[in-house]
Symmetry: C2
Subunit: 244 residues, 2 copies
DNA sequence: TCTTTAGATTAGGCACATCTAATTCAGAAA
DNA sequence: TTTCTGAATTAGATGTGCCTAATCTAAAGA
């Protein structure tokens, strides 16, 4: 007597904190540009060996969280995106909460949120969100997805890509370098500050910018490292440029 | 050329969340009575197999966190006690915070704290403590150890051990049965309520108690399951008993 | 004292997430 | 088209924490 049908064991999906971090990083990579992440880029961002990523990506695929053809880039499935957005919501709400309710500095929130995001319950997240008045963005200007996964990305451009004359508001600051955040805070370069690109020093040097508005302005030379961490939303359309 | 001295590799102690839970449970067992916990009692409380405990206790001993002779009870070392008290502080502060700041019910805080206690930083804990005004006990009446490990246990007795006539205040309610907590809250039996033992129903039946003071009192029959979850601090010394 | 037995420990394995080293592959360069 | 090369994958292993099954032991009972 042989079985005449195939027996399949459907693996119950356990979203470990490792899996949560993988999908979150895969998602984050495409948030501000549209190329999908590769195996080794993922390895660098997670701080693990390439081989660990290969192994794990196979498991993520098994669980229906990513699409992946060997030797090509890694993309989230619908389900993977849902999980990633849930984690991004958690992370950003936690960062916001830590600053507003527990007096953390904006350079201190990331690491704490990175661990807490895996430990708090949905109830905790929603209570926080209520208490904060359902904020739309985190302390670094990153948009906070709604509970249903809806997210609206502001129309911002990387400062380092802007031409002289451009004016706008700083709407996002990359949060992965705490030291940079401390530097910026010390210089009073904060979210929503008005900014104008004055020009670029020769031979690929620093970008010259003016921060502030009206009479209260200050000029800075920002090196590539900084200008590639700041996103600017234009206040005037392109036509308004004052080219010298 | 042979080495003429012994080379030892001292294991760097990594306090995993598993280790944290083991020492916490070992500590908790002796908080309200003085017998040390056995292997199988520990297994029940942690929800793991006996063999897992044997294995883990060996590792805890290796790390200097417990004293243990095979086939006998498990005791924390000085270092183990320090770690346990730190975890207890975390757990109880978190419970208090969840109730006071995020509107949790006292039956909902335990499970959330059980996970969060492993994920939050010391900074988080101390910020919470400040914000709460450095509370001395958690929502269930359990004392919160100070950052240095100091803890003062209230002089309370298990309700089920009290004789008729005893009066006092409820100062502690075991928090490991959420359903019981909901029942008590529904009956307005809360921390600091005045209580008087009226007597015991025959044949090992329920304990009859009076809750409240002055004109606002209510009588209850409390079954063993409940009376062994409530601790009472006497308001009148023993001499004041009214035996029938 | 000898036997029983409940509780504790060991043996042998598994799942997860990681590593280093060896191998394979896709696409660029010749 | 063939060769090369860096990226990606597989092979083989480790550490942690858990399991079931087998074995052992201390303390109680006959
Ligand atoms: Mn994380
Ligand atoms: Mn952020
Ligand atoms: Mn715990
Ligand atoms: Mn409690």
């Amino acid at each position: 007597m042989k079985p005449h049908g195939k027996v399949e064991f459907v693996k119950v999906v356990t979203k470990s904190s490792t899996v949560e971090d993988y999908v979150k990083v895969i998602y984050a990579f495409t948030e501000w540009q549209d190329k999908a992440i590769t195996s080794s880029q993922l390895a660098v961002r997670l701080g693990v060996a390439n081989s660990s990523v290969s192994e794990m990506v196979r498991k993520l695929k098994e669980q229906g969280l990513v699409h992946h053809q060997p030797y090509s880039a890694i993309k989230l499935t619908e389900r993977g995106t849902v999980l990633a957005l849930a984690m991004v919501r958690r992370h950003r709400l936690l960062e916001t909460y830590l600053m507003r309710e527990l007096g953390y500095g904006w350079d201190e929130v990331h690491d704490e949120a990175e661990l807490l995001e895996h430990a708090v319950s949905d109830k905790f997240i929603e209570r926080m969100s209520s208490k904060l008045g359902h904020p739309q963005r985190d302390p670094h200007g990153d948009p906070i997805p709604a509970p249903d996964g809806t997210i609206s990305l502001p129309d911002a451009t990387l400062l380092s890509l802007l031409d002289a004359g451009h004016r706008g508001k700083i709407t996002r600051i990359s949060d992965d370098n705490p030291e940079l955040l401390r530097y910026l805070a010390h210089q009073d370069i904060t979210l929503d500050a008005d900014i104008e690109v004055l020009g670029q020093r020769p031979f690929g040097g620093s970008l010259m910018v003016r921060i502030g508005s009206g009479t209260d302005t200050a000029d800075f030379d920002v090196p590539e490292e900084v200008s590639s961490a700041l996103w600017v939303e234009s206040t005037h359309p392109h036509a308004d440029c004052t080219l010298t």
